[in-house]
Symmetry: D2
Subunit: 299 residues, 4 copies
């Protein structure tokens, strides 16, 4: 990695060495917040940000995300995790404790169109997307020069539906080798098999070039043009086995009119795709997204 | 009609007695604008606003809308129409000449939810929706009091799928009786038969409570909630025989999040529905919409 | 008040009889959330919604809004308030406990333009603005008919800068007589004196017809037109003694272009004013707004 | 210039060798459109796009932009210009005839912050900003590496208010040397003198980091934060001698809230600045902007 990016990451890790994020889902009942906040207070932690949501105040699901600061956090990781287990069990919680200084490792998959990849790399260079971009995998060579100019490993793995199995094996091996936490499909135009998806549940983020559920599947801009819509959009979602049906993280749209032909729609759309994907990735990196029954809660 | 609304309409007609709008579609070729503008100049007309669009500069379809002012227009209506016929034939034009002072007669159909009806009546009372609201037809009684308080005739025609034919006969008879130019479905929750639609081609405006083509059909807010979308929308379109598939006039959306349950989505959506329908109706009243192959050009 | 509106209010009060909102501002330090949530848990309360914000995580100001449900709340009002005082003192809190069933009493002030008043009354009739509209005061007669048709008392108090003192005395007497909690200036085009403002600190909500701080003062649409802006807006804020300088609650804009003359800007602007004021008023009614040093935190 | 960019420009010029744009401002009177369209028809031209605007239908100013295609255009440039002069005189027109294949030469000025420069260079590399970027001038060295990697000449001219005269002389000499048509200030944080501005009337495009006229001058994000606005924005305008008072080409905004500190506002703002400046530059390159009395008409 380029020295100046490494420096930004080092600074970030130093600044955030005492910060963590606690994400909890559990059945709603009185006393959850009291128990968790008492626990954190007992550990000497100060709550920086806290968001919660009760899906149905009387007897539904409860979700909370707490970002806190705690002295000597990195040395006390296992102690805190261990001690929290008791509360978690009492309230039947599903929970995760993420340490901010442990920047996530990500692989970016891309095909020919590079605007989404470029946006991510740009945000990354300017220090606004705090991840460790471990590698880029593409079924085309186009992105190699730019990716390698940033000292990021680039792998060209040609792909088509006949060799899907071998391709995915190669990809998974690389993800393993680099210790990747999650994958971004930055306009990667190959369908993933259920086996691949099962390896990374809610850890593959895709950008689809329509405001889902409109125009599921191929060629959304052509179909938007033919339908004569007055808005086009983009959707970022976690990948599941149902094509374009995974939990939506973010969507946005732009206004178009009768003068915009398909080429113009694509151009306008690229700008939405870039910003929607970048937002979704940042929220994922900041542990702001909880998936619940094919929907997301974004705190 | 209430006296103060009648006064606004009278004023509008007096102010616009010399104004007309010419709408043309024809195969594109050089000389169209030259011929039309020479014709209008020859009639002493001044062009106030002109918009044009070539679908495909080399040999596609050409569309133009010209709003002009011409002395003594109302007395010269048939002369101008007659003389323009020659140009129209030379260029194989489909065309309409609309006189602004001839305000359109409209019927509004509504069911139980009244927010769209109220928005239209409000805009109408304030003089911003310059139409002659001839009557309101509903399959419920709810709107009667408010409609009649404005001295607009209200007809309650109960409807369901078993009596559709009789209901539509009654409705068509009323439309005839009042000399209605077009119909607004302001959340009218009954399906219209092909026979009814055929009577009013591109002259029935509907508001659908989703950003089409997402959530075609019933219960779009419930389905938007279940899909976990981050945007909800509304679409105004001309009615054709394919449910929710007619030419789109206008769409808009609003941002929502995980906290918004179905009731909240409906509430947020009502506000979009109101403004989207009002815009579409105004554009139709100002003869700004040309339909071409299931799409609209909005000038 | 009309019977059907009274019925909606009665229903609302019955449904919410056990709900309250606790708003707190205090210096940030560890343990606040733990103490408050333990207190509420001890009272048998269930937290429905909770939002917090630390202005500066290390030693700044801390803000929290908690909406909770508590059995037999209305009988236990003074007990809960009394018991909370201890915690409040320990953390040097400024705090308010609002009982949802106690709907706020509001007076609306209006001049000639009625679009904002109409929007509020419409939202109110449909049950989406849960307040007790005690009276409407205007320096013109225009709104009387519609206001009185809803059985809301209407007072015509002519006003100009020479008789400001007497006018405000009359107004304050009416506010007292009706036990008004806060005032909405729904395009009331008279300047209020410091004495009047002092009577209702952060309890007068104004709508200004520009995106402040652009176009402070008179005739913003004319000035927007002359400046050639591509966006116009509206701003809702609490009134202070500095004209148009009070804490901003909500703002929004709409796109305009060179074809829009002043009349068109006003028309487009009215729609923004309506929605911005309605949002601000709802947030105030739901106790979502905390004022801190001439800014608002909107939870 | 990099070979692949040169190739895109060559292709663009070949595709557009017969295209031109005619921009006209003149006093409104009947017959203008008839005369101009007859003239173009006589030259064998086909109108591709036409937009017009009458500032005041009865006796105001009239503006029109016509994009047309004409066989053998480049050989007939002077003939067409010569012959049009007669019509121009008859209607007292101010006019420009721009040949699309003659791509404009531009200089970009930048200081330390590079996001706007990067956006422009990116759009340029992808062929969406069809200009000849002749050189980049900066009062800092930061951008050198990236600019030179694209084979664009980079000039570092340190600047401060004491040496403004010499600096501008150097800059003007470079603009002359490279035959520059217009200048983009892509976050160039030095004030230009009236002499410099006078050399390039309506040919210097600036991006200001606020929705003007709010926050004219320095540190708009800090002031936006202090004022507690709920929207921040950016404005692209032509530079005149009145600081931040020149004709506005484009503006946009983004929603912010109490949690966004100054650093966050700047980050959100960068994204608006990038897109607003890119839009304004594209419209300028496509000859879509007419300046009239400190306002723009954007066709």
């Amino acid at each position: 990695m380029k020295a100046y990016i490494q420096r930004k990451i080092d600074e970030f890790q130093a600044e955030n060495k005492n910060k963590a994020r606690l994400l909890i889902s559990c059945p709603d009942k009185p006393g959850i917040v009291a128990a968790v906040s008492k626990f954190l207070f007992g550990k000497g932690a100060n709550i920086i940000e806290s968001n919660q949501y009760s899906m149905n105040p009387e007897g539904g699901e409860f979700f909370i995300r707490i970002e806190f600061e705690c002295p000597n956090l990195l040395e006390r990781q296992s102690e805190i995790k261990e001690d929290f287990r008791q509360i978690a069990e009492a309230f039947s919680m599903e929970w995760k404790l993420m340490f901010v200084a442990e920047t996530k490792k990500v692989a970016i998959f891309v095909s020919k169109e590079q605007h989404c990849l470029l946006e991510l790399l740009w945000e990354w260079q300017s220090g606004d997307l705090m991840a460790d971009i471990a590698l880029v995998i593409s079924n085309h060579e186009d992105a190699r020069e730019f990716v390698e100019s940033l000292d990021i490993p680039f792998y060209h793995i040609p792909a088509n539906k006949d060799i899907r199995k071998q391709v995915e094996e190669q990809q998974l091996q690389l993800l393993n080798q680099y210790g990747v936490d999650f994958v971004i499909l930055a306009r990667y135009m190959q369908i993933l098999t259920p086996d691949f998806v099962a390896e990374l549940p809610n850890r593959i983020i895709n950008i689809h070039h329509s405001f889902l559920p409109a125009f599921v599947g191929a060629k959304p801009y052509e179909r938007a043009y033919n339908r004569g819509v007055k808005l086009i959009g983009a959707t970022s979602h976690y990948v599941t086995n149902d094509l374009d049906e995974g939990p939506i993280i973010e969507q946005d749209i732009s206004r178009v009119d009768h003068r915009d032909d398909v080429a113009k729609l694509k151009k306008i759309g690229q700008s939405i795709e870039r910003s929607v994907l970048a937002k979704a990735v940042k929220w994922h990196l900041e542990d702001r997204v909880i998936v619940h029954e094919n929907k997301t809660i974004v705190f």
